[in-house]
Symmetry: C2
DNA sequence: CCAGATTATTCCTGTGTGGAATAGATGCTA
DNA sequence: TAGCATCTATTCCACACAGGAATAATCTGG
């Protein structure tokens, strides 16, 4: 006995005041309607309407129950619409761009559960450490590290790229571990050349004073993966977002140094093109990762001030 | 396929994250639970949760639908409680007191539909034109015409007793129809002696001026039924609530006279004893009749001012 | 007072739900 | 890494039950 249908027929009976009419309307027989109303009364445990073979009237209980039924049916219809909309609009290909290490370490591992939540979305993930023009490349969503330039895009800050100074134990063994910033220029510093070469490393000491150190070394790259590889193999010291090294840190293949000095964090944003009607697909993706990252200590914004 | 049960199991599945546990909890088999969730997904038209034989997670659609389900189930449970309460508390004997004519003409004819709405209430109707002490007589609800005295009772105004001056065509034939108030003392006026003998009839003319006429006649009674009978048989002129004459007016057995003068209406109240917890039974009765009378032109309060 | 319409009831048929068992899959543990 | 334990999907079958048709009973309105 489908209580939903029971309630629907009951509501219609109340509104038309006529079993037979409801039967015709629902392409069924008057017999069925009669039985359904009876079944509902049995289920509810009280007479809902008083029948007199030509018309009925609601009992008090019936009146109360009728109102609730309407409420329930309306809610259910609304639910159906919501689900349908979600099902229809949150589907298809979503083109996502991100820095290489970030994508590998923080996006890909979360895709499985993202797909679980959004089975109809297909992700095309494009990893690039350089600058990517969303419009030109047909990208829907991009993760950006650092300050933003392109003002035509909508940006949402979803975390921070916490940075640290790192080296492999082997390197430190050979060259000694620097204890003060002024030792850095004597070390082999690996320089990331994303948009511009970063050969000045900035710090803030425990007293809150800023320090900038000009560094140099025999290896530069625009690829965070290459830098990671280089550091792990003991080529030198790196100054970069800690998530570039991911497991390497946990596994002890690299070690943070100069921890007395805090390297200012870079903002981590997700950007997308503004649309007249906000795209549920893009929203779903942004919301999902925003939520996920807020629970990830490596990425979540610290309560202390970022640079 | 009972959608209600489907939704219940779905909700439990979401909350426990485990088909088998829900099956045990509902004293059924895991097979049934699996099928029910599938059936719901088919009904809704979208996957609600992504299964991986050891755990699930909600899809976006599932999340939305889950919330709605909770809402629906809560509403339904509330409905069940309401109905149960109504069913339980709106039952038993209700003792009602009213003036004789009023009861006969305005209460009894509405009892059938009142019973339809409240099948479990039994009405003991006690008709009396005199004053009845609610507490002493064990009355739950009383209809009172005129100003109220007993301040220990809760009163609710539910209408007005519109009054008129009436006589039978036969009487008017014999004695002529009075056109002015000052002719009344020469007529045989029948006097109602409810609590006190009303031998002064008051009026308001079209200019709003009050007039009081002292009248007399050869018949007085404390019974409106007796007065009605007397008027119908042409004994004299009466000044009383028009509902005392009910059908007689419509049938032409009595006729309103001196219609240029308005007789001030008396308030019609329903009174009952205040209770710590308001009695649903009394409330149901009062609400029903209050509502019914508000749609009855004989009783409804006029928009023009009453005396 | 009759005619038309409406609801309750009965009997029967066909669908479909749920149970038991099996297969397939996955995560945990040693 | 392999095996075990647990979970879900699926298949097959039997029984229950919902709904249709027809009839009886009841009521309304002209």
């Amino acid at each position: 006995m489908d209580r939903m249908r029971l309630m629907e027929t009951f509501v219609r009976v109340v509104e038309t005041g006529n079993f037979s009419a409801v039967a015709r309307e629902a392409h069924t027989t008057q017999s069925a309607v009669s039985k359904q109303v009876q079944a509902l009364e049995k289920l509810v445990g009280a007479p809902l309407l008083v029948r007199s073979s030509r018309s009925h009237s609601l009992t008090e209980a019936g009146q109360l129950y009728y109102e609730r039924c309407r409420q329930v049916l309306d809610t259910l219809e609304e639910a159906q619409l919501e689900v349908h909309r979600a099902e229809h609009e949150i589907s298809g290909v979503l083109r996502v761009a991100a820095p290489v290490a970030f994508g590998r370490l923080h996006i890909v591992p979360r895709l499985a559960s993202f797909y679980a939540r959004h089975p109809k979305i297909k992700v095309h993930l494009q990893l690039d450490d350089g600058f990517v023009d969303l419009v030109a490349a047909g990208i829907d969503v991009a993760f950006r590290v650092g300050e933003l330039k392109d003002s035509r895009l909508v940006a949402r800050r979803i975390g921070s790229a916490h940075r640290a100074t790192l080296a492999s134990p082997a390197y430190l063994e050979r060259h000694g571990e620097p204890q003060h910033l002024d030792e850095l220029p004597r070390h082999n510093c690996i320089i990331y050349t994303g948009l511009t070469a970063i050969n000045e490393w900035s710090y803030r000491d425990s007293a809150g004073l800023s320090h900038v150190v000009r560094v140099d070394g025999n290896f530069q790259s625009n690829s965070s993966e290459a830098i990671r590889q280089a550091v792990c193999e003991g080529l030198g010291i790196s100054y970069s977002p800690i998530w570039v090294f991911g497991d390497d840190l946990r596994a002890g293949r690299v070690k943070p140094i100069l921890t007395r000095y805090r390297a200012p964090s870079l903002p981590l944003n997700v950007v997308f093109q503004p649309a007249r009607r906000p795209s549920l697909k893009v929203n779903s993706f942004v919301n999902y990762f925003s939520e996920a990252f807020s629970r990830d200590p490596d990425i979540a914004q610290m309560l202390t001030a970022d640079a």
